[in-house]
Point group: C2
Chain length 359, copies 2
Amino acid sequence: MPNTHYYGLILAGGRGTRFWPRSRKRSAKQVLNVFGERSLIQATVDRLKQVIAPERLWVLTSRELRDAIIGQLPEIPASQILAEPAQRNTAPAIGLAAQVLATQDPRAVMGVFPADHLIAKPVAFRQVVRAAFRGAQAERLMVVGIQPRWPETGYGYIEFPRGSKAGGPEPLPVKRFHEKPPLAKAKRYMAAGHFYWNSGMFFWQADVLLEALRRHLPRTATVLAALPPFGSRKFTSEMETVFPLCENISIDFAVMERAENVSGLATTDFGWSDVGSWNAVYELMPRDGCGNVTARDHICLDAHNNFVDARGKMVALVGVKDLIVVDTADALLIAGRSRAQQVGDVVKALERQKRHDLL
Amino acid sequence: MPNTHYYGLILAGGRGTRFWPRSRKRSAKQVLNVFGERSLIQATVDRLKQVIAPERLWVLTSRELRDAIIGQLPEIPASQILAEPAQRNTAPAIGLAAQVLATQDPRAVMGVFPADHLIAKPVAFRQVVRAAFRGAQAERLMVVGIQPRWPETGYGYIEFPRGSKAGGPEPLPVKRFHEKPPLAKAKRYMAAGHFYWNSGMFFWQADVLLEALRRHLPRTATVLAALPPFGSRKFTSEMETVFPLCENISIDFAVMERAENVSGLATTDFGWSDVGSWNAVYELMPRDGCGNVTARDHICLDAHNNFVDARGKMVALVGVKDLIVVDTADALLIAGRSRAQQVGDVVKALERQKRHDLL
């Protein structure tokens, strides 16, 4: 039976611009069903449910996405699906949730989970979550490190003490956080063996996190502490007014890199992917004999290693390779697979052109 | 004022499968507006009108296309837009028109024009047409050769006597017709200087062509001669019955390569293109600074030399080159520009799959 003091905060405020044209302000990456029937946020809730009862799950998102998320997650009380009045990165969002939870349940332990990651091995994942919750109950700020499978330059790294063993259920002290490295450094991290990918998942008692905020981010801590009780008439209007006064900063920079009681799990593999681009989706999907990921209806003539997302339409590929093709009613993206990261630049260009119809 | 004995026969029976997915059985290449406001067949009529009055223009097409063509060509009497009861290549189609015209006007001289070619220089074109008509009035079977601009392997060639001069208005005797050559031979043709592209345009008196048919294709000639008068009640039903009995053969094979009174014009340049593929359209269209031919609404990031036909949709190209992209409501084609000829194979694959919805 789930521990009644375990709470989950799902961070679902991102836009996922690299998933344009399918991702839009009102249908961002986390609410898309890029892999199947369930959206990424629905899959996130599905795998958390056995450790955290849905009535103790909270979601923080943007105003544009809140309605879509309420519709997708009927198990979670709508009052616990909150829209941030302003984009202030993760520290204020997490602090707000900690403030509300600590007031409701002084023994609250919270896990923080990105809404838009993919986890292929849910059983192994739940073991990690339970171990992290246990670690958090000893007043630690817990992170989850993932043993690197390749020298990725797109993730931050967690440095554990040299010689740390992977896969154990016991928390290890975190020596340092490292930002996204250049390739040569990423290769050294991987060879060294005690550097782990930062998964973006955190576990702590709500009151421990609030204490850390008071110390390392006092303005935000003060703003949040002054809020009326959650559920009261004034809460929403007050939050609208004061939330924008919070610092715009990530929890990593604000707290984790400065605090002393930071520990982590050095996990091996629970099939984690941050699904960072269309190419990541390609890598994760089953392919046909020519290496293509395609719509049900397709004809490939000498076409190899392409990713196609075009629904309700016949797609014919002739003599092309390594393409990303994403078709929607009002926009069509065609990109080289190696250029998947640049798709966000299309969204920037659309913003410059004020093409709100396509954002 | 146009000569009242000049008639035009526009051959519009082809499907243009290499223009899939825009070309379909009911919207083949000749009725598409690939270059602008007017379809290829409308542009064909536009440039003929000053030499041949529209009421003396005839169109032969397929059953599937007849309605679309009647809608596009209101100047031409609908009774002169005929659907072939069966696909029998060009010889029976041309013979049928000659039979009808010779009966109506014993002095009829007819020009035969493909419906789906592009001609960039209409003034020069009309001079060629007038010269060809004049040549035909001396009982010649006239062809129009075009001085090759590159060693094309996709066209047939007309061989004039060695040393023939290009650009003169006088008919030259045709020594021989040559089929589509391999590249080495095409280069020799071009270097020799007296080999010309076969434009697929023909000019002759209707009775001269009928005489040639009687000699070289007697079954077809007999079948056509037995038809009731055009416009009579029985004409259509009889044609339905007997037309399929005609030989399935091109006028080139059936008559031109065998007849003795064949002459031709050795023309220089009237901006002719047979618009044989999407890549030909790309070559003929104005391009942006990166060599792209694109929809009005587009974002190109490091994208070069692509052709995009996607209407009413934003198209974003990221790091791709030399692609053909054609988007329609129910089908999307992405092909390498060098593979434009293979687009017809997509249509063959759809036929094997009995995807009549996409044909």
